[in-house]
Symmetry: C2
Subunit: 238 residues, 2 copies
């Protein structure tokens, strides 16, 4: 006999930049944090700083924090959602931006659907979405590729395919790179892409150094821009 | 000699549901609305209700509102951004959710980039993003197709292709339909798709009737769900 009601899995947006205040998040996030002690995220330090920034009066010692990253086995995931089945709500967080967007959190969400646990997503910042809307490319159809393949030949083939899908199909193409390889990727894009192809970079979004550049490859070649270790989302569009 | 500094184009998120309060938007939106009298959007009525809800004390008679929809010619667009070149900031709005995401606003943004006008996007709700993160499908790579093609044969071919791209490439496939055709599309999906294909519907998101259903086509066939005239984003995933 099942008497207990399941908890709710809340998908909580995190800030994109350390300099952002709570004014960058909808106030409902604060209300959820007030009521929840159980969190799942990528790193404990980031979860604690998030809670501290959103609600400084929250007692950190009462937080129960579980980590989710590419190393969790399936059995681990089942343990992570156990509090939900005992009636406790859980907040799922990413280190930056929306959980389950370019992060592994979706596996937790999938398990919840399979067990009839309610999932409530709260909207917030995403560097992918902000780059898309501010790129000047169509947002009526688009593809996000995540991190480009590491293998050089596969990656270059992907870049050529993205150019075609942007120019012929008019699907905006979004992608990322590990920040320490940004300059290398930019160099590669300038070498491989047609000079008329239009490239956008959403750089350090929401920070005081935010910059959104949309220019043809020909124009990019004339600029000197250092993207090393800066969060960037790239887009190719028509 | 150019003495005047250009204004800024702010991309402002709108609410997804009439029942939502300002607590569903980051407080920075209110600050932008406080300082801006020029708006571009899809319908005047919706822009006025947005401003009224965000900042009731704002004097409606002082607002300057320009409309942007699929009927504007290119010359119209240039006129729309003229206040920016005279130094006035403009707020670009969608009728619901993020501007430039599944709406024509991106053309304004593109013109601004071409003229060196700064574009500042503010994050907010998007039914597409909320459906993606709450679907339980991967958000590490995905495609948004907008509205499916009207022609039956083209549309059914697209649906089959989405099934392949979801299952073989593991790119989550997102798409929409005009709300009065939702039931028809759902019926079509249940007929065409493999019974093991997993379909998600993000229904009436952020409203009191919000529902996120992720089930196999076989399970969907056993449910009776009325989506008529309700805002829905669909997703097919692995």
């Amino acid at each position: 006999m099942q008497l207990q009601t399941n908890g709710i899995l809340f998908l909580l947006p995190n800030l994109l930049d350390e300099g952002n205040t709570v004014d960058y998040l909808q106030p409902r996030v604060k209300e959820v944090v007030r009521n929840i002690n159980n969190y799942i995220g990528e790193t404990e330090k980031n979860i604690r700083s998030f809670v501290k920034k959103i609600l400084p009066e929250k007692i950190q010692g009462e937080l129960s924090i579980e980590l989710l990253n590419e190393h969790n086995a399936e059995g681990d995931l089942k343990k992570l959602i156990a509090p939900l089945q005992r009636g406790y709500d859980i907040g799922l967080l990413s280190d930056a931006g929306m959980p389950c967007l370019a992060d592994p959190g979706y596996q937790i969400v999938r398990l919840c659907h399979e067990r009839g646990i309610t999932v409530v997503p709260l909207a917030g910042p995403s560097s992918i979405v902000l780059t898309l809307v501010a790129s000047g490319f169509t947002g009526q159809q688009f593809t996000f590729h995540g991190y480009l393949p590491y293998d050089k030949i596969v990656r270059q083939k992907r870049i050529k395919q993205m150019e075609v899908d942007a120019s012929v199909k008019n699907y905006t193409q979004l992608f990322m790179e590990a920040p320490y390889r940004n300059n290398q990727l930019l160099k590669e894009l300038l070498e491989i892409c047609d000079s008329k192809t239009v490239l956008c970079a959403g750089i350090a979004l929401t920070s005081s150094k935010e910059k959104i550049i949309t220019q043809s490859i020909a124009q990019w070649k004339k600029m000197a821009i250092d993207l090393h270790k800066i969060p960037v989302v790239f887009a190719i569009g028509r």
